[in-house]
């Protein structure tokens, strides 16, 4: 008898709570996933696919769903991993690839045969040119994704690191000088 009573009471509780939760799930239904946008804002938008997803947005979606690790984006670098970790409260993991300096693709003008294959490969339309005409990469728009390298039949594209100039030069981190070394300035 007691046990039946217990079961009855627990069942009653279950029904009441279930009803409350069911009502709440309708009332507080969430449409879409605003998190994806925040993740995508951190990704470098190179659209390079090095993460194994076809572009930055699919990767962001995968991260938001918890399907992908946050350390798969080499162009984003460790900094990107750090920021994703901060956003999502996940542990920082070492990057799943080597970190490279920022690069741009350069087309060797003497070898290019104007096949347009690289133009089709470029995810951001940073290559201009027409069939049987020499192609040119628009430097500022190149994301350095390297996707144009494999399709080129004559291997006329190579990557060059972006040179430092006065406009993009950055102040260096002040060296924390803890040893009593004399600081001398050389002119």
């Amino acid at each position: 008898m007691d046990i039946l009573l217990a079961i009855a009471i627990m069942a009653l509780g279950a029904v009441v709570l279930g009803a409350a939760l069911g009502y709440a799930s309708i009332k507080f239904k969430v449409e879409g996933d605003p998190l994806v946008d925040k993740i995508e804002a951190i990704l470098p938008q190179t659209q390079c696919g090095q993460c194994g997803y076809p572009g930055c947005k699919p990767y962001a979606e995968a991260i938001a769903k918890g399907e992908a690790e946050i350390n798969l984006c080499p162009p984003g670098g460790m900094e990107g991993v750090q920021r994703l970790a901060d956003l999502l409260g996940r542990e920082v993991k070492p990057l799943d690839a080597e970190e490279k300096p920022k690069q741009v693709a350069i087309i060797d003008e003497n070898t290019c045969i104007g096949c347009t294959l690289c133009i089709q490969a470029c995810p951001v339309d940073a290559i201009i040119g027409a069939a049987k005409q020499l192609h040119v990469i628009i430097g500022p728009q190149c994301t350095g994704c390297e996707l144009c390298l494999p399709p080129c039949p004559v291997e006329c594209i190579h990557m060059e690191p972006i040179a430092e100039n006065i406009d993009n030069w950055k102040w260096k981190y002040p060296v924390v000088e803890l040893k009593a070394a004399p600081m001398r300035e050389a002119a």
Partner: protein, 572 residues
């Protein structure tokens, strides 16, 4: 002069060291053996070179054309021959190269024809344009193109114009001597600015350790018959910072995110006013400036120096002591050691200080911050440098922005008072440039995203078009067959039934129309196929077109050089 002065919080009183270079009047520095004139000498767009190696130039001749509105032209400082237009090390802490015009002077110092103008006859637009063409920029050190500051806010009436003769940095005396010796021209230059901006009052702020300059300016104001107020301000570094001086003279505080004109106030340096006067009424563009040469030298003095003069040549005039081991450009609080001694004097160079360990003892090693708060008390912008340092050091840049790192004017007061000898300003510069770099990356990423999405959209559209085309082709095929069948049937029927014969031409017409339509569709499809070829030559900016054109030109050149290149194949 009875006037209520305001105060800014913080500030420091470093030893001024100004008397050394005040002993002698301004001297004309001789024309050096070679002038290296950087094209980018102001904030804003980099001027485009308009001369080539071998060109003969006259003093004041345009060599770099302003690029955009916020940009100022660059001129040949003396007559001579252009040796090269090439990359040279800049007087910039980075020690990197930038494009310079190198001129070998012919010693004649021959001016271009100068046309004196009465600026009152010109419209304000014309005056501003002339200032831009003459390369007039803020000579206090910020080198912002002056014409860009001479437009009043549309909504806020211009109340005060502040003229900065405070010159608060230790060692520097070039503005002091300028005001002493050329006060009248300074006052007349201020008159130009006044006429353009129409402020209610003009306030000339001069630190009270320069009574001679203040007296000279007062006399000049009287002589010219203006109503400018010359106001001595308390000597306190950085009273000469534009925002601090505005605060002291008007009580207004200009936040980092606002322009001073939004508050009805604008600030100019006295040297800027002087060059503006020379440029407008004498037709002389900015080809020289006053430079204090001081520090570890025998004869500190102020010189009028041609832009582009190598700094070591200039320093020699003051005979530096043998233990000099570097040159500081600017004052000891905000200046920097130039990367190599032969970098040129530019429009921003107000002072050269010969550096030696005797004059500036090497800093004690950096200790950890003890959060003593001295920096916060010294900060003229009422920031909390120790917090900004804490997060800059940890590279937590978001936090540095929460502590308003971009309101920091890098005056160096915090580093000056820090008992732990922390190069605070250095940390802030580091953090700022990292944040800027991120901003750039973010912009690039946004642009890339946009372009990627556009490309995807285009591919989608092309796919859809292709599918549609295929469907159309299939439909056309079917229709054609149907039409043929119908035609055959019609032909067979014609003989049999005469009433239907009347319909035949109609059917024929219909068929013809259909065929024409098919033809047209095929034409269209073909055209579309061609259009769908990744050509991507539309919608190019002039820059891109130019880049492409350059590449084409190079390619043509390459082809000329290598005749066996498959030129024919390509040129089809």
């Amino acid at each position: 002069m009875l006037m209520n002065l305001f105060k800014f919080k913080g500030g420091v009183k470093p030893p001024t060291n100004k008397t050394q270079s005040l002993g002698k009047p301004i001297a004309q520095a001789p024309i050096p053996s070679r002038l290296v004139v950087p094209l980018h000498q102001s904030i804003g767009g980099t001027p485009r070179p308009v001369v080539q190696a071998g060109d003969k130039v006259l003093k004041g001749q345009l060599i770099g054309e302003a690029d955009g509105w916020i940009s100022a032209a660059v001129h040949a400082p003396t007559s001579g021959t252009v040796v090269e237009v090439a990359m040279h090390v800049q007087p910039h802490p980075s020690g990197l190269d930038a494009l310079c015009v190198v001129i070998e002077p012919d010693g004649k110092d021959e001016w271009i024809p100068r046309e004196p103008v009465n600026y009152k006859a010109l419209t304000p637009e014309q005056v501003r344009e002339r200032l831009q063409q003459a390369g007039v920029v803020g000579l206090g050190g910020a080198v912002f193109p002056t014409h860009g500051k001479l437009t009043a806010s549309k909504t806020v009436p211009m109340e005060e114009m502040v003229i900065n003769g405070a010159e608060c940095e230790p060692f520097i005396t070039c503005d002091d001597l300028l005001m002493r010796e050329r006060a009248e021209e300074v006052v007349r230059g201020i008159g130009i600015f006044r006429d353009l901006l129409q402020p209610k009052r003009v306030l000339i702020g001069i630190e009270d350790n320069k009574p001679e300059a203040a007296a000279a300016m007062r006399a000049a104001v009287q002589a010219v018959g203006e109503n400018f107020e010359v106001i001595p301000v308390p000597t306190l570094y950085p009273a000469g910072g534009a925002k601090q001086l505005i605060r002291v003279l008007t009580g207004k505080e200009v936040p980092a995110a606002k322009r001073s004109t939004d508050l009805g106030v604008q600030c100019f340096n006295v040297a800027t006013a002087y060059t503006a006067w020379r440029a407008i009424t004498h037709g002389e563009p900015v080809v020289s400036r006053l430079v204090t040469v001081t520090g570890n030298v025998h004869e500190p003095r102020n010189y009028e120096v041609l832009i582009g003069t190598p700094m070591d040549e200039l320093l020699k005039l003051a005979t530096p002591h043998p233990d000099t081991d570097g040159i500081i450009m600017g004052g000891p609080m905000m200046g920097f050691l130039v990367p190599q001694p032969d970098v040129p004097v530019v429009k921003a160079t107000n002072c050269l200080i010969a550096h030696s360990d005797r004059l500036f003892p090497p800093k004690a090693p950096e200790m950890p911050c003890i959060r003593c708060g001295s920096c916060a008390q010294a900060c003229p912008h009422e920031l909390q440098p120790f917090e900004m340092y804490w997060f800059s050091r940890a590279k937590n840049f978001g936090k540095t922005q929460e502590y308003h790192i971009f309101d920091c004017i890098e005056c160096g007061c915090c580093s000056f008072v820090c008992p732990s000898r922390i190069p605070l300003v250095q940390y802030f510069r580091f953090a700022k440039s990292e944040i800027w770099a991120r901003e750039r990356e973010k912009n690039a990423a946004d642009q890339a995203k946009e372009r990627f999405e556009f490309k995807q959209l285009r591919e989608e559209r092309e796919k859809a078009e292709k599918a549609e085309k295929l469907a159309k082709a299939a439909a056309a095929q079917a229709a054609k067959k149907a039409a043929e069948a119908a035609a055959a049937a019609a032909a067979g029927d014609t003989a049999a039934t005469s009433p239907q014969a009347a319909d035949a031409p109609a059917i024929d017409a219909e068929k013809a129309a259909r065929q024409a339509a098919i033809q047209a569709a095929m034409e269209r499809a073909k055209a579309q196929r061609e259009a769908a070829q990744p050509k991507n030559t539309d919608n190019l900016t002039p820059d891109q077109q130019q880049a492409a054109a350059e590449i084409e030109a190079r390619r043509a050149a390459a082809r000329l050089a290598v005749p066996e290149a498959p030129a024919n194949e390509k040129s089809e």
